[in-house]
Point group: C2
Chain length 243, copies 2
Amino acid sequence: MAEKSRYKCCAEPQKVDFTLRETLPSLGSQILNIAGADAHGKGFGVEVLNADNHTWVLSRIAFEFYRRPLQYEEYTVETWISDYGRLLSTRNFTLTDSKGEMLGAAVSQWAMIDMEKRTAVDLSWVGREHQEAMVEEPSPVERPRKVRNVTPTITTTHKIVYSDIDFNRHVNTMRYFDMMIDMLPLEVLEGDFKYRFDIHFLRESRYGQTLEVGCEMREGAALFEIKTNEEVVAVRAAIEWYK
Amino acid sequence: MAEKSRYKCCAEPQKVDFTLRETLPSLGSQILNIAGADAHGKGFGVEVLNADNHTWVLSRIAFEFYRRPLQYEEYTVETWISDYGRLLSTRNFTLTDSKGEMLGAAVSQWAMIDMEKRTAVDLSWVGREHQEAMVEEPSPVERPRKVRNVTPTITTTHKIVYSDIDFNRHVNTMRYFDMMIDMLPLEVLEGDFKYRFDIHFLRESRYGQTLEVGCEMREGAALFEIKTNEEVVAVRAAIEWYK
């Protein structure tokens, strides 16, 4: 049985917005980069899997942020894998400030796919082989909720360009995050809110495609549906904000 | 007289593209983040200047990249200030790999502005007060060239959104870089080229404005002119690639 991994972070100036607090997309990036670094350090990162034509794909993630770190504030991200199902493994995160106060938390669920067949791989063997990497502690917040029935009231289009794509030629997770955040009224981002995000990645989207980003505004929440030009849903998500 | 500052960097997976080499925008970000961190560490970072209502503004930068670092490759960035003029200070950078081969270099020129009056501040006092931070070594590559007479053959528009802006509510330097890189044919970015960029920042652009990004394609080069919707030129730049 493993221990949680701890990473020290700092809200450097390039990560903050005009409220001088780290942006939500930057916090999301930080979390995902740590997921990659931790898997790499433990021997099951993408570059090891790639040798077998396999890769990790983020299927769902839920983030909660209670307070955004101030410019130059240091905080700690802890991460651990709590379980491997047959199709999804669960990686958890907590963000705490120097006083031990929880700034945020996240639960991510990852599938392993065969890059040639584009199908999911049974994860049971990873659970057996990397048993020692698991930590028996439940997820710190509710796992990603399903998002259904989005009826967009505002829509923008986005042509996928070079800076949107990752090493897989697919749109980078964080760029989807940016596209959704950018549709929110500025008051939601500059106010002193707490936030919860639930994001489902349903299909990949590729360089040259045009995305349709639909947003349904509600009271204290926004639902999103991102489609590729073939009318296929790539991402569904919900963002809630509250005092 | 100071020594150059040295920073260790690594081309982590989130920085690479599908060629598994660090992207040009990521290298550019790295350089600018180091400029900020180094000024901060030496006591003349933006947060110190802000107390006097002053801030650093990047006026011009030239980057040269000869080889992009491979995924997980470690490299060293050295930076030093070579001189303070009355209006511009010059900060230089070299990027070298573990064998001491030069991967790239950059020369940046910064103005200090009064944030209320929006005018340039005479830098002579900084040169006197921070004399000990200067290194008497010339810039490693030619200083930023002027770019004039851009006649766009392709134009795109870009509405400025939250994720484009920095702590100043202005478009982040690196987002301009992305906008220009994204207009290049993919072959220019995936090929084994060397690159030189010259970028001039003429005016700031703000949240809610719409930018017109014009590109004039030439043989082995592209010129850019980015205008705000008031027909004001915000940025002019040139990118050259060669074997």
